[in-house]
Symmetry: C2
Subunit: 338 residues, 2 copies
DNA sequence: CTGTTAGCGCGTTCAG
DNA sequence: CTGAACGCGCTAACAG
């Protein structure tokens, strides 16, 4: 049973002064007798008084709270982005509310509604892989509440965005495979619905083209990023009459699953088949052989997103949306070079 | 620039009715003409109306929001606990706000204050390793806002708690080492301030005692859980005149760091030295050799914590605190048995 | 320096 | 079935 929490009126009554004076004392307003202020402060402390942020937000119609919606947070990626964003936001005096859509479009819509209902001042979003309709985010935009997309961005919305150069990262990864002598390079791609997947696929294709290696349709498989499927497709690739001599995976979990399957079949890595992942998940340094991968500046994604949001928040009128594309870096480990 | 968000008054004026009627229509009150209700609902949809949760919370003095404070969320553990808790809480109609103290006592206090200011209905907490003073949580308790501790629990507070049987888990782990022939078993323990660490240490000690193996003081090192220190201490242990033939680590990151150091020195695992971790981090299955570890029912910790909190919330008067101790399970992998 | 008043958006009496 | 009035806790504008 929750008891009555003390309010400024309680303090005012006990001290025999008006609630305005209490309010002023508490907020550090200059025009208060220093003795009165001290009495207020002392009593507040004694009563464990905490200002009711709800009432203040209702009054000022700003909550100084930013909502973050992410599709998952079991892998290291999103937690690390969130921490990066939180650093910047906390410094600017904003709180952070994290919502987890669990890759479910319906949950994402529910999350967005809840954040709207609780009147967040801004939104940081990486959408689910099934999100095709972005109306639940457009509503924020229409109300003048800034939205910044990161990692998984909506290409149709005119808002600020932070991504990495997926195309370039993929190009360099495949180039590395080619330069280390690989010719039949498979690509386990992500779902078409995600721009990231498409950009990585394009990087893969252009690298092959650039080095005049014909693309084999049978070596490219798009899938939904569930590990069970990854398992099936890797086995499928290995069973081909002409199996690949390298695999470029859309992300590290996929690459690590592939690594397990390949080792399980007694093939040697990288001798028989080389593997490259994407993101530089801490696990990629742990597996054996170490996984070559395309590193993303994860914390920086969060920090930059927060900064773009802050800039929108500071702008009087609707500010021009900005797009930041962060560089990637190829981390070469033993899964590609003996 | 944030625009004016539509309120029930806006809807009422456009429809030429009173805001009470709009309120009733929106909340599904029975006594509303169905035609009027439909007109309200239509206009609300058209205006993207979202009820202002702030105002409602201020009025009802309940936010239907639960705060969760965790010390970190880069390892898999806390995210998974949070997801478990969220499932249960969402089903009961509660939202979740996650705060990340980053193992900083000051941040934890700030988080607690912010959650109090935003009037959460309840609190789920795992405190930092430096938290000695729990006054910032006692305030909630005193106000009748239920608090549930999980994983890292405050032994001095009379609130509901969810932990695993650390003692038993540690005992079984060390017993396993003894039964596979180890005699000089080192223990890299966590800080004394954490009950978990102490219980695991006790389990270690009692297992040795039970099998009449004398405890060597030089083989037990408590540390602050930073990986750099782990590295130093593992090297120190290996440099002893009589190095250990087994290592029981307080958690999996520590064990994995140890594994790297040991392999780096050209020692064989488990032949020269066996390793056991704690928690069954996904990474423990990835490293080579696979890490033997004590698994915790992670999602269940979250679910149970949420259920205990819900029970407190439902209780009219202050409900009796409950303590749930979940079982662990030893997962044997190649780091202990060839 | 301090008190009074108004109102943020809403649900809920209490009258019609 | 509907409307008017009140108050949740707080800050800001206005008067002393």
């Amino acid at each position: 049973m929750q008891q009555h929490l003390p309010t400024i009126v309680d303090i005012a009554q006990q001290l025999g002064i008006s609630k305005s004076t209490v309010s002023r004392a508490l907020t550090g307003h200059p025009n208060v007798n220093s003795k009165t202020r001290q009495r207020v402060l002392d009593l507040a402390e004694q009563l464990d008084y905490q200002r009711n942020q709800l009432a203040i937000s209702l009054l000022t119609s700003q909550t100084r709270t930013i909502g973050i919606i992410v599709p998952e947070f079991l892998s290291f990626f999103f937690p690390k982005v969130i921490i990066g964003a939180q650093e910047v936001l906390a410094e600017a005096g904003y709180n952070v509310v994290i919502c987890h859509s669990n890759e479910s479009y319906e949950t994402e819509v529910t999350n967005a509604r809840a954040l709207m209902a609780s009147r967040v001042d801004g939104l940081l979003v990486s959408h689910t892989k099934d999100t095709r309709n972005f109306d639940h985010f457009r509503i924020f935009q229409r109300k003048g509440i800034p939205v910044v997309f990161f990692n998984r961005v909506c290409e149709d919305m005119s808002v600020s965005k932070v991504t990495v150069d997926d195309y370039e990262g993929a190009f360099r990864a495949v180039e590395h495979l080619i330069q280390t002598g690989r010719r039949r390079i498979a690509h386990l791609a992500g779902p078409d619905s995600l721009p990231n997947s498409r950009h990585r696929l394009n990087g893969y294709r252009d690298a092959l083209r650039h080095y005049q290696i014909p693309e084999e349709a049978e070596l490219v498989i798009s899938y939904d990023l569930t590990l069970e499927k990854a398992n099936i497709y890797v086995n499928h690739l290995l069973n081909l009459p002409q199996p690949p001599d390298a695999l470029f995976a859309v992300n590290d979990p996929t690459a690590i699953e592939a690594l397990k399957v390949i080792k399980g079949r007694g093939l040697r890595i990288p001798d028989d088949i080389a593997i490259v992942g994407f993101s530089n998940d801490p696990a990629s340094a742990l597996v054996e052989p170490g996984l070559t991968t395309v590193a993303q500046p994860v914390s920086e994604i969060g920090q930059q997103s927060a900064r773009l949001l802050l800039r929108q928040l500071a702008a009087e009128a609707a500010a021009e949306p900005e797009t930041v594309i962060l560089p990637t870096e190829l981390i070469v480990r033993s899964s590609t070079v003996g």
